[in-house]
């Protein structure tokens, strides 16, 4: 097993599949009356959050607690970080406290890679800047596999602000490894340069959502910040929604079996309408549930829970 999970690219197909299979086992725990396994008893997991992200933090916290780990939440607010302590000094502090794993969310791309140089424990990237969010990609893959029965050969459209999206990068890397075909859709201003060469050969780009929808098994809508219009990525929220938002009529262009995903939090009315978000095709709530199982599997495998 790998030591750290920093990028969707860290996972080969076997390792990724092992995580998804383990997550499926973990999911059975959630159905029990006592939702707890003793696997990580006595181990310490630190949630080191430099950005507000209640969703991701509580998902990791629930995952670690269900595995009986001791969980320390270290948030930038109200800690020494606001007093200007460097990431390295924080890392050395966590190291001295004996953290077995550090789950880090950070606004700077690559911060988890830097952290991994400074601590002995495992580092899990819970979202770094505009770079990656590998456990989100794992829970997305888990959700697709659960709904559609497979990943290999699936056609997945990832729609929206790919440029600034860590979810998109991790998904392209992981889905390509697992044999799915990814098409990135958005206005040209929000599609980064050389994306196929940068991430995975065979990744397609389209600027026309309507032409893509009839041929996909999955459409994943990314959160688009309204403020992007202030930097001229698009003229207005209204125009964005008209060209790239998923509404009822567009959803009906999808094949019968296709699902609609969103990593949350949603901008209802911007990239997705309530009709779509609340439809039976939507997996948005399942994604949250699956997130806990997948993060349990990641912590369990990274911390060697399977060979103790």
């Amino acid at each position: 097993m790998i030591k750290h999970l920093l990028s969707g690219g860290d996972l080969d197909a076997d390792t990724a599949t092992e995580i998804l299979d383990t997550a499926a086992e973990m999911a059975t725990v959630a159905g029990r009356e006592i939702k707890k396994l003793p696997a990580l008893r006595g181990r310490t997991v630190v949630n080191l959050f430099y950005e507000d992200s209640t969703r991701t933090r509580i998902s990791f916290e629930a995952a670690a607690k269900r595995l009986s780990a001791d969980v320390i939440n270290f948030s930038a607010k109200g800690s020494s970080v606001t007093k200007g302590e460097s990431l390295k000094d924080t890392a050395l502090t966590l190291q001295a406290m004996g953290a077995d794993a550090v789950v880090i969310r950070h606004p700077a791309s690559g911060a988890p890679h830097r952290l991994a140089n400074w601590v002995d424990g495992s580092v899990v990237n819970a979202g770094d800047g505009t770079h990656e969010h590998p456990t989100q990609a794992l829970l997305d893959a888990y959700t697709m596999r659960a709904r559609l029965g497979r990943l290999a050969g699936l056609s997945v459209a990832v729609v929206g602000d790919v440029l600034h999206s860590r979810v998109a990068r991790s998904n392209v890397l992981l889905l390509s490894t697992l044999g799915a075909k990814v098409t990135l859709v958005g206005p040209p201003t929000l599609i980064p340069v050389d994306i196929a060469g940068a991430l995975a050969p065979g990744t397609d780009v389209s600027y026309d959502l309507d032409s893509v929808l009839p041929n996909v098994d999955v459409v994943m809508m990314l959160r688009v910040q309204r403020e992007r219009m202030n930097d001229s990525y698009f003229p207005s929220a209204r125009e964005y929604a008209r060209r790239y938002g998923l509404d009822g009529p567009r959803m009906r262009r999808l094949p019968e079996h296709a699902i609609v995903m969103h990593p949350g939090p949603m901008n209802r009315g911007m990239e997705i309408t309530p009709e779509v978000a609340d439809s039976p095709r939507s997996t948005i709530v399942e994604q949250v549930t699956n997130g806990v199982s997948v993060r349990m599997a990641v912590l369990y495998l990274l911390l060697g829970g399977n060979n103790r």
Partner: protein, 425 residues
């Protein structure tokens, strides 16, 4: 004053000969020289070059003496084979007045390891809003001739035009940091495949090329001298090639790191590789090397940029850009160009001395010329250990790399600043 007899040394790659240094100048050149009073330096196997001249050095004093001082930077320069460096103006306070440039100039004289020639800021506080007192700096004891807001681009086209025109009165030159600021807001590294993969905001090549294109047209329009700092892209080379073919009075420099390292170095997120302009692609490196050989690029300049540990041991986005260069530049040139001694002398000594107006530097050893020279062992290899560098900072991108060539001795006006590969003070 001690005399020095350098025996059997190859002067700029020619057949071995002897050099006698006396009273600060080259007294005699020729085989079989004798001078009983002289200290003998065995030059067997060594190459003598005119002392190297750096058009682009950050000495950090005043303001960031924790990262570098005029003295520590001068020592690093001497160890790198330099006898003169041009100190950039982005200190704190900014070198935008006669007072500050004279302070830097005086500190250089006191250190007495290289000639420190201050560069003056173009605009007050590097703010890009109004001209600094360029004439006062030119008339000061520091006799400033190169003006640069390096680290910032003089982005306002009217201000750039005025600066180019104004310095004609004292044969000054504007050295532009070519970076269209609106195209590089928040930029962290070269915009391309690697920036996309790493999720770091891209610094597109066009942001450099657009400014160079504008500036060569402005220089042509007003008939002024323009120098382009740290050219980093293949497209910039083409703009410069066309401008030079039209006769525009433009010169350009390239750094050692832009001749050797690509943007893939960013993949570790180690900010030791963060620099402005950023490391580019292999295709850019090929174009820069070709331009250096054919003269479209005139000069290798280090952009030696020391930074304190805390400014580099952090997240990439929060780190300061820049890397050390003085102690490794000659080795990189040798690695990139091979033992093309005349070309190395041209790009690292003669031409930069001419651009900076540093008479007495950049002149090949010959009877009567000031004894500013450096001796290189081209057969030696050395592994770069950051802790062994003379700079106060440790941010070298070449750590643990093995590079060809070693500076054995450097002489400044006949006085050794480096002997046996060690600084004499």
């Amino acid at each position: 004053m001690t005399a020095y007899l350098i025996t059997s040394v190859s002067v700029v790659g020619a057949a071995p000969t002897d050099l006698l240094i006396r009273d600060g100048v080259i007294a005699e050149v020729g085989p079989g020289l004798t001078a009983p009073d002289a200290t003998v330096v065995d030059g067997t196997g060594l190459v003598a070059l005119p002392g190297l001249v750096d058009l682009h050095t950050h000495l950090r004093e005043p303001g960031r003496e924790d990262a570098e001082t005029v003295e520590s930077g001068s020592r690093a320069a001497a160890l790198g084979g330099y006898t003169a460096v041009c100190a950039m103006a982005n200190t704190s306070p900014v070198a935008d007045t006669a007072g500050v440039v004279e302070q830097v100039w005086r500190l250089g004289r006191e250190a007495a390891l290289v000639d420190v020639q201050p560069i003056g800021a173009v605009t007050v506080g590097l703010a890009g809003e109004r001209l600094a007192e360029l004439g006062a700096m030119a008339d000061s004891a520091a006799r400033v001739r190169i003006f640069s807001d390096d680290g910032h681009c003089v982005a306002d086209p009217k201000l750039m035009r005025r600066a180019l025109e104004y310095v004609k009165a004292f044969d000054g030159i504007i050295a532009q940091h070519a970076e269209e600021p609106r195209l590089t807001e928040g930029a962290q590294m070269h915009e391309g495949e690697v920036s996309t993969r790493l999720g770091l905001i891209g610094w597109p090549a066009v942001a450099e090329e657009a400014i160079i294109a504008r500036d060569v047209l402005l220089a042509e329009h007003v008939g002024s001298r323009l120098h382009v700092c740290h050219v980093s892209t293949a497209g910039s080379v083409e703009v410069l090639r066309q401008a030079k073919a039209r006769g525009v009075r433009v010169t350009a420099e390239v750094t050692p790191h832009h001749l050797l390292l690509t943007d893939e170095r960013a993949e570790t997120y180690d900010p030791v590789y963060k620099v402005n302009p950023p490391l580019r692609t292999a295709a850019d490196i090929a174009a820069l090397r070709a331009a250096l050989a054919d003269g479209v690029i005139d000069v290798i300049a280090t952009d030696h940029a020391p930074h304190a540990v805390e400014d580099k041991e952090c997240e990439w986005a929060y780190a300061r850009p820049g890397m050390l260069g003085l102690e490794t530049a000659l080795s990189i040139a040798l690695d990139v160009l091979g033992p093309e001694w005349d070309l190395i002398a041209e790009r690292m000594s003669r031409t930069p001395a001419r651009i900076a107006g540093l008479t007495g530097h950049g002149v090949d050893p010959a009877p009567g010329v000031p004894a500013n020279l450096t001796l290189i062992d081209p057969a030696a290899h050395r592994t770069i250990e950051p802790a062994e560098l003379a700079s106060r900072s440790r941010n070298t991108p070449y750590a643990r790399m093995t590079l060809p060539g070693r500076i054995v001795a450097t002489f400044l006006r006949g006085e050794p600043t480096v002997l046996d590969g060690k600084a004499v003070k």
